[in-house]
């Protein structure tokens, strides 16, 4: 029945009799400028999003670490006195001053490899996240909003993508295109082709529930068309789920890329990626742990920071997050 104020804030609990204009207004609105009030309000909404994000300490810290990691691998890779393809002549050396992360059995400096790998992996992961989220959101939105035949058709296709083992597809791709098409761009597209399906499922579910909301009906009664309802009402409210899924895809993409590389359609040697480094170092985890742990640490850092950034973004876009209103 009647749902009371579910997010009862202390400032609005009293009866309407005591509605005092601006009495319980914690917002940053200046009182004087009446002419431009509305435009000021619109801008302050953007500022609110920024402020809410900046108040999310973990997210801000993560963003700083992530950017540092990215810049480090980009700039570090150039400044470091070994290239990722150089043979140093030191074989299977443990970390030392000369090789801070050690060397592998054919004489590559692991630090140079990690720089290069992180750069490639982040490149791939971000592109995959962007592509698969876009495709997944589009497909899910259409299926969830229009339902009926469009929904059935799209979702059966999603089932197909989900059920056909992706490794089988990759193996076939590998044999068809061979190593010619290798390269990070191709890898990203292939990965996005797999990872969009679960996202579309989630977005469809969210849209199915949101489209029945009363405010959607209210918008329709006002005469809003489908496009307006989808972009102004449904998408913003589905943003939380979409962002969370996008951050998961980043981690998944980095790890799945390993399998691609293993099958020969991934990043091609001598170029490298974090996934490739991990799978190379796996057998050496006991005997030469530096081959395994350094790239692993970087993967964990990337996955964690991206997840926290996602959390921060989700909260920042949610106006009901009053926790950090200052």
């Amino acid at each position: 029945m009647a749902s009371g104020p579910t997010t009862g804030t202390s400032t609005t609990g009293g009866p309407d009799l005591v509605e005092t204009p601006g009495g319980a207004q914690p917002g940053p609105k200046p009182a004087g400028v009446v002419e431009r009030e509305f435009t000021v309000a619109v801008r302050s909404q953007r500022q609110m999003i920024l402020r809410r994000f900046l108040n999310h300490r973990l997210a801000v810290a993560s963003l700083i670490i992530f950017i540092a990691l990215l810049m480090g691998s980009l700039i570090g890779g150039r400044l470091w006195h070994y290239g990722f393809a150089d043979r140093t002549g030191d074989y299977s050396q443990p970390p030392s001053l000369k090789h801070p992360m050690g060397t592998d059995d054919i004489g590559h400096d692991v630090m140079a490899l990690v720089f290069r790998g992180a750069q490639k992996s982040v490149q791939i992961a971000l592109l995959v996240a962007l592509l698969s989220t876009t495709i997944g959101t589009l497909v899910g939105a259409v299926a969830g909003f229009y339902r009926g035949r469009a929904d059935a058709l799209l979702m059966r296709f999603v089932d197909l993508v989900l059920t056909v083992p992706s490794l089988a597809i990759l193996a076939v791709l590998a044999s068809v295109v061979g190593s010619k098409a290798g390269g990070w761009f191709f890898v990203a597209i292939v990965l996005a082709g797999i990872t969009w399906a679960p996202i579309s499922r989630v977005v469809r579910g969210v849209f199915l529930s949101l489209r029945e909301k009363e405010y959607v009906e209210a918008a329709r009664a006002l005469g809003a068309n489908d496009r307006r309802i989808i972009f102004r009402h449904l998408l913003p409210n589905a943003l939380g789920a979409i962002i969370v899924n996008a951050t998961i895809v980043v981690a998944v993409a980095i790890l799945t890329e390993t399998a691609l590389s293993y099958l020969g359609v991934g990043v091609q040697r001598p170029d490298t990626s974090l996934g490739l480094l991990i799978s190379d170092g796996q057998g050496a985890a006991q005997t030469r742990p530096w081959l395994f742990y350094f790239p692993g640490l970087v993967i964990i850092l990337i996955a964690l920071t991206v997840n926290f950034i996602g959390d921060g973004l989700r909260d920042a876009f949610d106006p009901t997050q009053t926790r950090v209103r200052a």
Partner: protein
């Protein structure tokens, strides 16, 4: 001519069965033949218990629910014949106020953006004029101007409903359908919102269809009241007449459920209790729909003959074979249906 004319409106929801090949095995007859007239500038109250189809009538009028049969004329225009752009233009003139003001406001939209939405979708005003109109709307419904940049969750229930009302009047409509406009609110707030609705009606010459189950609210706000039972209208009368001399047994029972604020009278008066539950609208009883629960049920006609909505007195229509006899006291309620209030 009335602003709104509803003729033979039916809204049936199909009941489907089967996993792969869906087939329709029946229908929930939410609204099953409703006629209504609403004059310009007046308020029609539509009352009835939960599930009688009153909300569906309102939603069907606005084309939020597809009607199965019947017609609705709005200011002489056939509402059900409109499509696309014509329908959108018509919607400018018919707006809705929803029951739950929190769920009918998009949590991600600021109040300013919510109020600007109808104006933007219909390209009524833009730029500085839009801002001015939004502020004006806030002022009209008694909200502070600085509400513009705030979000629905920051307001109380009554304030949210004011936002909902402001959104409904933004396009200066002729008709507002208010679906339980105050039932989600505190009793102390209800009066304010009802007063606001009345004030706006006078100021903007609005026509209301107020859907409610609270008889006191409806009596206060409406000129005419229609009582609905199981998808049909059983009685229509000017509001005071309806309360003073109800003619349909269902209305009589409904009104006798209102306690009288005097313990002596309340103790002695006879209450007319309805036995049983509302029958399933998927399989409504034949004849008079009310005969399964009617305390005045007669052995003949009631269960085999569908009554007509007859105009017994000017402006007072009743959907009962025996209304005259009931009114004259020639038929008394059966024992099972009538229990003294003290025992109940």
């Amino acid at each position: 001519m009335s602003l709104v004319e509803v003729r033979g409106l039916k809204v049936h929801f199909p009941i489907r069965a089967g996993v792969i090949f869906e087939r329709t095995v029946g229908a929930v007859r939410a609204v099953d033949g409703v006629d209504l007239d609403i004059d310009r500038g007046t308020t029609l109250g539509l009352v009835g218990e939960s599930g009688c189809g009153k909300s569906t009538v309102g939603r069907a009028l606005l084309r939020l629910e597809p009607a199965t049969a019947g017609s609705v004329f709005f200011d002489g225009e056939d509402v059900f014949a409109k499509t696309g752009e014509e329908l959108r233009r018509l919607r400018r003139r018919m707006q809705m106020v929803f029951q739950d003001p929190l769920s009918s406001l998009d949590p991600r939209q600021s109040i300013g953006s919510i109020l600007a939405e109808p104006l933007r979708t219909h390209d009524v005003v833009a730029g500085p004029a839009l801002d001015a109109r939004v502020r004006e709307l806030l002022d009209v419904v008694g909200l502070p101007t600085n509400a513009v940049s705030r979000f629905p969750h920051e307001f109380s229930g009554g304030q949210r409903q004011r936002v909902g009302i402001a959104r409904a009047i933004a396009l200066s409509p002729d008709l507002i359908i208010a679906d339980e406009p105050v039932s989600a609110l505190d009793v102390s707030i209800q009066a304010q919102v009802v007063n606001l609705l009345e004030e706006l009606q006078q100021r903007l010459n609005l026509t209301y269809l107020v859907i409610a189950h609270d008889l006191a609210v409806v009596r206060h706000i409406s000129e005419t009241i229609a009582v609905m039972y199981l998808g049909v209208i059983v009685e229509v009368a000017p509001s005071d007449t309806l309360y003073d001399e109800p003619l349909h047994p269902y209305t009589i029972a409904l009104l006798s459920a209102i306690p009288i604020p005097d313990p002596e009278v309340e103790d002695r008066r006879e209450r007319l209790l309805l036995v049983g539950d509302l029958p399933s609208p998927a399989n409504p009883p034949g004849g008079c729909r009310f005969h399964t629960r009617c305390p005045f049920r007669q052995p003949t006609r009631c269960h085999d003959e569908v009554p007509a909505l007859r105009e017994l007195r000017p402006g007072h229509q009743v959907f009962c074979h025996w209304a005259e006899e009931v009114a004259a006291g020639q038929i008394t309620p059966t024992y099972a249906g009538s229990v003294p209030a003290a025992e109940a």
